[in-house]
């Protein structure tokens, strides 16, 4: 017994000493690396600025920057995150010339998962379209995180032709939420809108089966596209939106279209009365919000009716809509009467139609 315990003690002591040594070494190394990166930054910064002003050529930069690529990444990242225009193009060109991009392209094939993920991220940031085939392949990975990072990199690079492939990978093989998908797809910027309109048009015409394509109910992916179009305030989406409003098939989708219309602030050639009297209060509310942002004539009767809506927000928006579109007289009249909308009318009038949260 005693010998066993003694042996355990010796093992534990050895482990302890090893751990302590590792700790000390690690701290020393980390400190040194920190100092080194500060030195590099101090040396590289003026040089980079001179390069951006064409005072130093790429050849000189190449010699000066000879260092490991990870430090370079740390140095360049804030510039890549914050700059567009000619400065950014010059930086991307520089990274191309000095072998930085080639290095990360190679890392994309690494056995090490962390290296692959970092590489995908970096290549997205430098918008390296040469890596697209590999990133596309990465979308087929088993790891959620690799799929997400690959998708993000592709959107950073701006390869719009891969958008539906990204979405299919996200929806079928990860548990990412719709918000998460939007957040990544919106990276593309406005360029993503035409393909989204095309697919929605094809779907409405029965040429595409969204459910089969993405393995989620069709209205869900359609709602996602609508949301993205609204977010970009893409005017050309108006005809598609009108068509969806006409079909009136799914409430979820209608809500998204109305929300997107509020962003577009463009009038539609559709009668909105059915939505103002819709049994779903969210639809009533979103229609009012849209009309509040983009007033259109012909709905006054319905709107006045909604002042007495059972839902507080609906009546609130109805009153706000009237107040801010030169119909304060209606509110004053109702406020003085015994009608159901009286309380809300006086509430809005008292506040002068001004609320901090709008």
């Amino acid at each position: 017994m005693l010998t066993i315990i003694r042996a355990i003690i010796i093992v534990l002591l050895t482990v302890q000493i090893g751990l302590m040594a590792a700790l000390i070494l690690y701290i020393i190394r980390a400190k040194r690396a920190e100092r080194r990166s500060k030195e590099l930054e101090a040396r590289w910064q003026p040089l980079l600025y001179e390069y951006l002003e064409d005072e130093v050529d790429i050849k000189t930069m190449e010699i000066e920057l000879a260092e490991n690529y990870n430090s370079m990444w740390n140095f360049f990242r804030p510039y890549l995150d914050n700059l567009i225009g000619s400065d950014r193009e010059k930086i991307e060109k520089l990274l191309q010339e000095i072998g930085f991009i080639a290095h990360f392209r190679q890392q994309l094939n690494s056995e090490n998962r962390s290296k692959r993920i970092r590489a995908a991220f970096v290549l997205g940031k430098v918008r390296d379209s040469v890596s697209l085939p590999q990133l596309e392949e990465m979308l087929q990975s088993d790891s959620t995180y690799e799929i997400i990072i690959a998708g993000q990199a592709i959107t950073d690079i701006g390869a719009t032709e891969l958008v539906f492939e990204i979405m299919a990978a996200f929806l079928q093989r990860t548990n990412i939420t719709f918000e998460g998908i939007s957040q990544i797809i919106i990276n593309y910027g406005e360029e993503i809108c035409p393909p989204l309109i095309t697919i929605l048009t094809d779907w409405l015409a029965g040429r595409v089966d969204l459910e089969e394509k993405f393995q989620v109910p069709a209205y869900q992916s359609a709602a996602l596209f609508v949301e993205l179009l609204g977010h970009s305030r893409y005017q050309e989406a108006l005809p598609v939106f009108e068509k969806i409003l006409q079909q009136r098939e799914n409430e979820e989708l209608l809500i998204q279209v109305l929300k997107a219309l509020s962003r577009l602030k463009e009038p539609v050639q559709i009668d909105l009365k059915p939505f103002l009297t819709h049994e779903n209060r969210v639809i009533r509310n979103q229609t009012l919000k849209y009309l509040y942002k983009c007033c259109q004539p012909g709905y006054e009767e319905q709107i006045v009716g909604l002042l007495a809506d059972e839902n507080w927000w609906v009546s609130f928006y109805a009153a706000m809509l009237l107040y801010h579109n030169g119909r304060q007289n209606i509110l004053t009249e109702i406020a003085g009467s015994a009608e159901q909308g009286a309380a809300m009318s006086s509430y809005i009038l008292e506040a002068g139609g001004q609320f901090e949260h709008f």
Binding site: I27, I176, T177
Partner: protein, 461 residues
């Protein structure tokens, strides 16, 4: 003589089992932390922050007799980095001027906000909006305890995610963004917890820790080592195994709908935070849902810990009592295969390791003295055994200090780390035993407390 021998053997086996679990957890945690690190590096927080596709968040802050600090704490929270959030302060029938201070500072006026959920709480006396901050709401209610206040906050919260924060906690600026990320990345996530770090002696400016310093007090340092162990491999390890049972009451985010479905925080335990996560696990498994609870070691919330033996003892005593209550209220989980890792590993570990652990430890010590006294075992054997137990803990503590260096490096220099190491060495001599006594007291309170509730309930009916 035999009985003492048996007790010693039981405690040795027990001791080995507990430590083997720790070592296994360590390995799991190490792998998880490595994975987490790359994620940390490539997460584009700025982008999340810019985006309009974040999830809005309701932050619930229970306040009881906090007139001295409340306005400052709330002011700091209002400047948190998060795209859209509201703060729901719940005044739990404070006897001091908490409400008055809030009213003066934030220009409160009666609100027309109504409750969105109907968790049972003590009577609500009023709800107020702030004229200066549209995203601040104050709920004033009769006293009902922390769980009751949290439930009231949930009732009045607007947004689908709720975050509970203690009024005196300091949230790191990116922490909310990071802690919401899992909810966006994975729709199965129902709860996410962050790390608690110790703020004693750190430099704090306007509600933010601006410089991390190792506290001067030994008692606080001992707790740092404890917290590092608990968070960096305890929770990271359990979360990686999908067996997370605690999300600290001081800093966690939940999907509101599940909180409400589970009936909110339980009002008849002082360990409402642990009880909640256990209950969520139980209910969601019963419904056959595929869900996740995650723990992120990096989003950090800084908190002050007790620096006197007396207050620390009281805190730990309460924790032990709360642990017992939470475990008892969810005892269906024990060794239940239907509940996966939580039922088969985590719950038993907390039950045998943390809850009745001090009892076994106590009898172990007693027996050692007895066998030694009667000469049934040699002094050498007893001492070597004690050495192993102390050494093991030191090794585990050192590991977590190393993990901290490998990942987040809040304590940067050699000197601070040296002090932490020294603390880890000293823990086994005195503190560990003191901790055992506190936990035994907590157990005693737990056993006694049960009866008190019985009486209370009878009074109600």
């Amino acid at each position: 003589m035999n009985i003492f021998r048996t007790i010693i053997y039981i405690s040795i086996i027990y001791f080995l089992l507990v430590n083997l679990t720790y070592i296994a957890l360590n390995l799991v945690a190490f792998l998880a932390l490595k994975k987490e690190k790359i994620k940390f590096e490539v997460t584009d927080l700025q982008k999340t922050f810019q985006s309009e596709f974040y999830k809005p968040l309701s932050i619930i802050v229970p306040a009881y007799n906090e007139e001295k600090t409340i306005t400052e704490s709330i002011q700091a929270m209002l400047s948190l980095t998060y795209p859209e959030f509201e703060i729901v302060v719940v005044n739990d029938g404070s006897k001091d001027d908490t409400l008055k201070r809030l009213r003066e500072k934030f220009n409160l006026v009666p609100s027309n906000r109504t409750n969105k959920a109907d968790l049972t709480t003590a009577k609500i006396r009023g709800v107020y909006d702030s004229l200066d901050y549209p995203n601040l709401v104050v709920v004033d209610k009769e006293n009902g305890g922390k769980a009751d206040s949290l439930n009231a906050g949930i009732n009045y919260a607007h947004f689908p995610l709720v975050c509970n924060i203690d009024a005196d906690s300091l949230i790191e600026s990116d922490a909310l963004l990071r802690l919401v990320e899992p909810f966006v990345e994975d729709k199965r996530v129902v709860a996410a917890g962050g790390s608690i770090r110790i703020a004693n002696d750190c430099v704090v400016e306007e509600g933010k820790v601006t410089r991390v310093k190792l506290p001067g007090s030994w008692l606080a340092r001992l707790q740092i080592v404890e917290y590092l162990r608990a968070f960096l491999f305890g929770r990271v390890g359990w979360a990686a195994l999908e067996g997370l049972m605690i999300i600290s009451g001081a800093f966690g985010i939940f999907r509101k709908s599940h909180l409400i479905a589970a009936g909110g925080y339980s009002r008849d335990t002082i360990g409402e935070d642990m009880e909640l996560v256990l209950k969520l696990n139980r209910k969601l498994k019963e419904q056959g849902r595929d869900y996740r609870t995650v723990f992120l070691p990096d989003p950090v919330c800084w908190t002050q810990v007790p620096e006197t033996i007396k207050t620390l003892g009281r805190q730990r005593r309460r924790w032990q009592q709360g642990l017992g209550q939470s475990l008892m209220m969810n005892k269906e989980l024990l060794f239940n295969r239907d509940y996966g890792v939580v039922g088969l590993l985590a719950y038993p570990f907390f039950f045998f390791g943390e809850f009745i652990g001090p009892v076994i430890e106590f009898f172990g010590y007693i027996s050692l003295f007895i066998v030694l006294f009667f000469g049934w075992a040699s002094l050498e054997l007893v001492l070597t055994f004690l050495t192993v137990s102390i050494l093991l803990r030191i090794v585990l503590s050192t590991l977590s200090i190393l993990f901290e260096q490998l990942t987040f490096r809040k304590y940067e220099n050699l000197r601070d780390n040296g002090k932490l190491l020294l603390t880890a060495f000293l823990e086994g001599f005195g503190y560990q035993q003191l901790h055992m006594i506190w936990r035994l007291q907590g157990l005693y309170d737990f056993l006694k407390g049960k009866n008190i509730w019985g009486e209370q309930q009878r009074k109600e009916f």
